[in-house]
Symmetry: D2
């Protein structure tokens, strides 16, 4: 950790901080410059952060050297983690396509789309039973009835399921009915929920928050890991920027960056990442090319009747086209579909 | 609602949508232009949103005319709402200063700072017992022991308290010990929590999410209102932008805009809004000038020992200076301190 | 164009605006709703924008129906434009790789890297002679001497050149020595410069501004087109967001979106788009997969000695690796390298 | 400067960098940590930046200690700079109000509004003769005829003028007719233009770029200063964020921050900063409260007829109201109006 003092800071003030660093069991460094005094502290930065040296009035700023996340880092585990649920595996040689409707709306709707996506190669079924909606007047999901339908779909088709959990009180019920718990973008920093899914040990698909940094995403994963659950799939789903032509800005830089820094698998959500049906296929191709371990994509056999996000859902024929177009890119990336 | 069709859309496709609008009990409008067909739908847009017309492949985009929020709007209630808890009132003639430490750390720490802020004119005491922290390795708060200390501080000093609630399971306990429930920025779209505090009827201080639009903030308030609780204080606390010199970008445009659109009181958090101790006083002055109903500010008698956010906390003398500097600006705004 | 009036607007005010629309030769529409009066104006929106209806106090907002750009749109020209300079073509079946150093630094440096990139398949050479630098104390480029070296490189290797023009006064000299004029991100809305390169008729590589919307990029291209020059290559080079792990956020959504809306070719700059050498190859692969017409990439045989942007430059062996890795993705996209 | 090496960096690699630091005449520091080797370099960082140490493959990142700007910093000059043009002074005890139309449209329009703003206390007249417009089809300004009208207004009313210069070729003509040259947001990093206005020695009003950091704004000012012109007024005019309710997000944090770091005067543009007429007055009050040295505001006697930006222009009566409302806040800030 590097501590830069203000221009008018005195040697005495520097010494006070240095002795505080030393008393915490770390090695202090004194670097008097021409325009500034700079201090260093060598050792475990997680201890140093407890010192809150940035609170000293004579401190201009504190520059950490190490990242705050640890267990999810490649420095702790060099090889890739593969997360398995049902007969799906994310993070291995197979590029995993998870597909299904935004919301579970009825048995007929769910079964029909589940069959189509399975037929064309999806390895898991997505579908929301509890829906986080910006407005209280929007459709809020079928709740536990939706979960039961997902369970039924899995039993009939052998397609493991992913569904969003919105609060601590839902975790147990969710674990009963679905195979992988999704933490939505709005809940990425809902720490009580992170701890709860961490304790559940169920595989977790953790979506990046709307304006979360890559480091914050990794720290959210670290919460789950720290609570005892290493089965974490990270999901890039677009970030909020000034651009309004697309719903979000899909950050594929983040995918390549994450693959270098963490051993956890990374999937991409091109449906929310673009918010535009016509852009889903090209961005899915790009996801495969950049090195993602899979995609999670919205599909609805009749988008005009969808109760949510119909504008970004792929129809059945479009889903088939997606899988055909993906194939050569997945193979170019050295994987199978 | 205005529906713009794609350039190649046919009259037939337009008619299908028009008949759907009509069957929903709304008045359809057909506007064939030179380059595009444009459709209109007059009536309650909240019904229209259920139609999901943007999911039609022939639709380029849908432009809503009305806002989605309703009960929190000045169109429904023209006069200002005043939210009262203990002997504090936010939204009236008095500019409300809520102050206290980021975290409750000990009885001695809390009582000492509470006395100082009360002496200089604070009307309520803030302090976190449950702390949302980016890293699992950071101090997570004293929990219920912290709540008890807040309660004690109120009993001894007559200073009502504001503290953050982080999950549904905490709401009942929080209601027992504190006077106003804070929803933090990370939880602004934690809808289960919004509903729970809505049902509790306790006054709520709702912070704007890190990258929430003004409309999303009002819709989050609408969730609480819709659940039966009109006692809502909105809080602008800075948004996330590309600028790194300050922790966040305090959006005072939003305060002026909100005061025109909603009857709910609006306070400003210059501590998180800037993240820099030296900027807290000038931005507090600006908050008073722009028309805010108060501020919520972090203060700690010994910031260098603070367990969180010491770098942005005002010392005792700085808090006194804040109140002195605020006075003429509050009066210029036609209020009292 | 749709004009939404404020809640308290009167019928009289509406009539005033309607008559203004009519007198401009457009067809006015009156749509009285339950909560708002909405007006429409059918016809050429470019005329309507001259009316500045949003300036009326009774107007809440104005929603344009049509885009402001026209000549660069696929609605005017459905087929792809191919931009040619020297023996390079951008926009056709061949995926164009433009490569070279950030800055021209010396004859030896330029020739060495030019030979390497040509050998491995680059179709054009990039290199800055005039450098826009954030600080006045940074290296500002070799100027006209740099241009002469680019010219020499082209003569010796048959590799056409791309270089940045920073001001109107440089256009003539640039045209003499280089084959394609680059407009940098900081100058995307330097309208005098856009007009000047438009009048020059030279091929132009137009970079998206640091925080320019897609529509603003297309309007900047429209300036060049409108000045008489249809030879425009658009370049996505990353936008500024809150994320700091990468220098910029490469917006591949924009590439897919642009390919649908404009007939102009689109290339990607993964060097500036990431700012991290290790991310250049994966994002180049993604650019090919998303449908870009090529990439423009920085390469330097000895990045540690580079006078600018060495941290994002590919070494010779890395450039070779880039071309090898690109090949299957380019082919999967139905193109050749 | 602090240089953090990658986890797998060797001592040998560290030594190579240390010797490079030493050979540049600086003092190297070697700090081997548990997880990383960290290097330091003490001395003039502007020399260090020429070393481009971030280009070394073994370097993870480089953290500068000192800011890159120097001459505009309070560390070089502690006292406030006052910029004078005509009988206007910006940066002193008087809060400077600069007002006028977005565009000069005609003699009648300009004279009428100039008289009104002068009568109510404006110290300078703004008005655009060359207009940077997003679309080539929008009104581009009256050009030199507009400049002549500004000159005439100054002669008749004794009101010095501010007008935007858009390219190097206009600088001489502008200097002939107007008293203060405005660099617009889109040109903040048009370095050729910065150097040209620097050489002209005329007072410059430098607007912050749409997504420029505070440091980039100060470096743009440093360009002008470095070219020999210390007469620089900085202008905060709103930054681009994800929020769409307002045209830009006015960053008053930046104003308070700038006043602490630079001796240059800082004014606020609440017209572009909000883009909404109704928000101009509250944000002007906030600008005075936060410590700005003045405001630059758009006013038009008949906004509905304005050729540009009518939606954010104050009418005559609103301008009068602005001045009345400003007064107590300016006085609370210890200044006069």
């Amino acid at each position: 950790m590097i501590i830069v003092l203000k221009p008018n800071a005195t040697e005495e003030q520097a010494k006070e901080i240095l002795s505080r660093i030393e008393s915490a069991g770390l090695k202090p460094l004194y670097m008097p410059g021409v325009e500034r005094i700079v201090l260093g502290a060598l050792g475990d930065e997680r201890v140093l952060q407890q010192l809150h040296l940035d609170a000293y009035p004579c401190v201009e700023n504190v520059k950490p050297i190490l990242t705050k996340y640890k267990m999810v880092s490649r420095e702790v585990q060099a090889h890739d983690t593969v997360v398995r649920f049902g007969n799906a595996a994310v993070g291995g040689n197979k590029f995993a396509v998870i597909a299904g409707p935004c919301s579970v709306e009825s048995e007929a709707q769910l079964m029909a789309v589940a069959e189509v996506v399975k037929q064309h190669g999806a390895v898991a079924l997505r579908g929301g039973a509890y829906k986080p909606r910006t407005s209280p007047y929007d459709f809020q999901g079928m709740g536990v009835e939706g979960l039961k339908l997902l369970h039924k779909a899995n039993q009939q088709l052998g397609l493991p399921t992913v569904s969003e959990v919105m609060e601590v009180g839902q975790v147990d019920t969710m674990c009963e009915y679905v195979d992988c718990l999704q933490i939505g973008a709005r809940n990425m920093q809902n720490y009580a929920l992170l701890k709860a899914v961490g304790e559940s040990k169920k595989p977790v698909l953790l979506k990046r928050g709307l304006s979360a940094t890559i480091e914050e995403l990794l720290l959210a994963a670290e919460y789950i890991y720290d609570a005892g659950n290493p089965n974490i799939i990270l999901c890039e789903r677009g970030i909020r920027t000034y651009e309004t032509a697309t719903r979000n800005t899909l950050d594929l830089n983040a995918v390549a960056y994450l693959k270098q820094r963490t051993h956890l698998p990374v999937v991409v959500d091109p449906s929310h990442g673009t918010g535009v049906r016509e852009l889903v296929i090209p961005l899915s191709r790009a996801a495969a090319a950049v090195g993602a371990d899979g995609i999670i994509v919205e599909s609805h056999l009749n988008p005009c009747e969808a109760l949510s996000d119909g504008h970004q859902a792929l129809t059945g024929p479009m889903f088939e086209q997606l899988m055909q177009e993906l194939k050569p890119f997945v193979e170019a990336a050295g994987r199978t579909l």
